[in-house]
Symmetry: C2
Subunit: 373 residues, 2 copies
C-alpha cells in the first residue's frame, strides 16, 4: 500500500509516517536486535517501549554504552515545549527517561522551552508560557524522577546560565545551517532563529558547565532530532562529546490516524482531564471495528488501524501475552470494540487517578526540582 506523504520537523508532524523511511531521511540508526540484547544486559528486562519498538531509532547509543561499560556514567536530557497542558503523548519519552534514570543511575537535565513557545505562538504571553512550565513540571515530577538527580528549568528563568553556553554554541552555527535544518525564512523572528542554540545547551551542560566528561543521551520523539543534528555539528568545535539520542514514534490520537495533537483535544487525553471526560474520549475513539456486531463476529476487527488497540499496545497493556491475546481475539471477532474500550478506559482511569494524586503531591516537590540561576 502506497503511504501518503508525511512531514516530520520540530514544527510539524503530519501524514501517515513511514518510520523506516524516516530513519533513512534523518540518517539515524535503527535499534537492532543486537543493540536490544546489549541494552538488556544492563536493564535486566527490556522496557516495553523497546520490546515493542516504540523507541525505534538512535544515534550513538552504542557509544554511550561503550563508555558506560568502561565505567563512565552518562547524563540524560529531555524536555518539553510548554504551550498547554500535558497529554499522554508528551509523557511517553519522560516515562522512558525515568526508566533510564533508574537503571543507569543517570542525572537528568529537563529543559522547558518556554522561550521557544513564546516566540512561535503569537497568542501566548510570557507569563502564560512560564505558567505552563510550572504546570507541566508537575507532570514530570509525578512520574517519579529522583529529585537528587534531576534538574528541571525554564529557559526564561535559567537564562543566566544557559545564555552563556548558548553563545558558545551559536558562534558556530551560521544562519545557512539553521535555515537548512529548521526551514527558517525571512519571516522567522530573530528569537526563534537563535533558539536552536538554547535547546542545544543541556546536551553539553555536564561537560561545559559542571566540568564532567559524561556523555549525554537524549530520549525524545523523533521530530526533535534536527536539533541534535545541529548540536552534534558544533560539538567537535567546542571540544565536546556529541550528544547521543534515542528516538520514539508518535502516540496516535484517539481519532483516525496521525500523531496525538493538541489541536484536536477530543482525541487527546490530558493529565488534567477529569476521569469522566477521559472515559468519554475513550468511548468516542476511532477503532478498527466493523459496521455491525454481526459483521465484526464474522470478519473480525482491524487492530492495525484501531486507536484503542494502539494505546493498549504502546502504553497500557504491559503484558505481552495479554496484548497478543487482544490482537488475536479482535482479528477473530471474539471481542467487540466496546469490550476493548472498556479495557482501555479502565487503564486510563487507573493511570489518571494515580497520576493526578502524584501531581498534587508534586506541588510540594517543585522547589526540589526547579533550578533557576
Amino acid at each position: 500500500m502506497q503511504k501518503k506523504k508525511f512531514v516530520v520537523t520540530p514544527w510539524e508532524v503530519s501524514g501517515e509516517i513511514d518510520y523506516e523511511k524516516l530513519i533513512e531521511e534523518f540518517g539515524v540508526e535503527p535499534i537492532t536486535d543486537k543493540l536490544l540484547k546489549r541494552i538488556k544486559k544492563h536493564t535486566k528486562e527490556l522496557h516495553m517501549f523497546l520490546r515493542r519498538k516504540f523507541f525505534f531509532s538512535h544515534r550513538d547509543f552504542n557509544h554511550v554504552l561503550d563508555s558506560y561499560e568502561r565505567g563512565q556514567k552518562f547524563v540524560l536530557y529531555t524536555g518539553r515545549g510548554p504551550s498547554g497542558h500535558t497529554h499522554l503523548g508528551h509523557i511517553i519519552p519522560w516515562i522512558f527517561t525515568k526508566h533510564l534514570q533508574d537503571v543507569f543511575d543517570a542525572k537528568l537535565y529537563f529543559q522547558m522551552t518556554d522561550d521557544e513557545k513564546f516566540l512561535i505562538k503569537p497568542e501566548l504571553t510570557l507569563e502564560q508560557t512560564i505558567g505552563f512550565t510550572y504546570d507541566n513540571a508537575l507532570d514530570v515530577i509525578a512520574l517519579g524522577f529522583d529529585p537528587k538527580k534531576t534538574k528541571i528549568f525554564s529557559n526564561i528563568e535559567y537564562a543566566k546560565t544557559q545564555y552563556k553556553m548558548a553563545l558558545q554554541i551559536a558562534k558556530h552555527i551560521p544562519f545557512s545551517t539553521a535555515k537548512a535544518v529548521f526551514g527558517f525564512n525571512s519571516t522567522s523572528n530573530i528569537g526563534i532563529i537563535f533558539f536552536p542554540a538554547m535547546q542545544a545547551v543541556p546536551a553539553f551542560m555536564a561537560q561545559l558547565f559542571e566540568g564532567q566528561n559524561e556523555r549525554c543521551l537524549i530520549p525524545c520523539a523523533v521530530d526533535q532530532e534536527p536539533y541534535w543534528r545541529v548540536a552534534r555539528d558544533v560539538a567537535p568545535k567546542l571540544g565536546l562529546h556529541k550528544p547521543a539520542g534515542i528516538y520514539c514514534k508518535f502516540l496516535p490520537g484517539l481519532g483516525q490516524g496521525g500523531k496525538m495533537s493538541a489541536s484536536l483535544p477530543e482525541t487527546c487525553v490530558y493529565t488534567t482531564d477529569s476521569l469522566e471526560y477521559a472515559k468519554k474520549k475513550v468511548w468516542n475513539a476511532f477503532t478498527g471495528g466493523r459496521a455491525t456486531v454481526k459483521e465484526q463476529r464474522e470478519k473480525g476487527g482491524i487492530p492495525e488501524i484501531c486507536s484503542v488497540y494502539h494505546w493498549l499496545y504502546i502504553l497500557f497493556e504491559k503484558d505481552d501475552g495479554k496484548i497478543k491475546e487482544i490482537y488475536r481475539k479482535c482479528k477473530n471477532g471474539e471481542i467487540l470494540c466496546g469490550e476493548d474500550k472498556e479495557i482501555l478506559a479502565n487503564y486510563v482511569n487507573k493511570f489518571l487517578s494515580e497520576h493526578q494524586r502524584k501531581r498534587e503531591k508534586a506541588k510540594d516537590l517543585l522547589e526540589k526540582f526547579m533550578v533557576r540561576d
Copy 2:
C-alpha cells in the same frame, strides 16, 4: 570637493564621513540652533560637544524635552562593546552622558555588549570578553557617574533579566528586518542575529522592567543608530515609548583621516597608556603642517586636516576663545606644529593622570555599579 565614499554601520566605519549626508541616509534630525537654545534653558551652559556640533543629530530629543518640561523625568542608556581597552574615542559619548545625568538628574543604564563582541570576534573567548567588561567599566566609573543612578551590566551576566525582555522584542523582529538593517547574511551566526534584541532591551528597561513611564534617551556615536531604528519599530507593538537618541561624530585618530580605530593602536590614546607612550603618540601625530618651518611661517598650517587641532577642538580645549586663537595662529603661521603638539600633550597628560587615578579608585566602586541578576 567631491568626498570619497564612506560607510557607517554598527560593524564598520570607514572613508571620509559626510555627516550632512549621513543625516539624510539615516533619516535622523540635525540638532538645530532652535533645539540648542531649548537645551540651554535646562543646562545653563551648552556643553562643548553641543556648542561645537560634535553631537550633531538626534531623534525625538524634542519629545523627551516635551515630557521633561511637563515634569516627567527620562532615563539614559548607553554602552560599550568590550573587545579591548578603552580609548579616548570611546569615552566621548560617556562624558556627554555624564553631563546629561548631572543636569537632568537621570538614571543611566550602561550595557556592556560582551555577548556581541564574543559572537563577532573569532579570537575572543567568553572569559576574555567578560574580562574587558570589567576593565572598561572602570573607565565608565572613573568619569564620575552617580552610583545611585547608574547600573552597569554585562549582557552575559545580566542575561536572566535581559533575555526575558529580549524575547518580547525579538518576537516582533523578523529576519528580513534584521537582515536589511544590519546586513546579516547566510554566514552570520545565529547569536549575532538575535543580538539586536538584546541591545534593544535597556531602551525599554525603565518601562518594561521597572514599570515606569519614563522615556529613554540614548547618547551614542551615530553608527549605533540602526539598533535604535529596530527598537523604535518594535516599541508600539509592545505599547512602549520609542527610544530617543542623540548622536555624535567620530573622534578622528592621530593618523591621517578616519575614525580612531583600535586596529591602528599608534593613532589611538588608550586610558591605560603610560603617560610617556601617550606623549609619544601625540608627538607622532599627523598634522596640517607644512614641509618646512619656513613654508609654515609663510603659508600657515591647515588645521582642517590636523589631528592635533581636531583633538583640541573636540575634546580638550574647552575655552572657545583659546581654540579660535589656536586656529587663527595656525592659519597665519604664527604657531608651529610642535607647539600645538605640546599643548595637546599637556592636556592628554593631565587627563590621563587624573583618569588613571580615578580608574584605580573605581576598582573599589565596581560593586556599587555592576548589576547582575
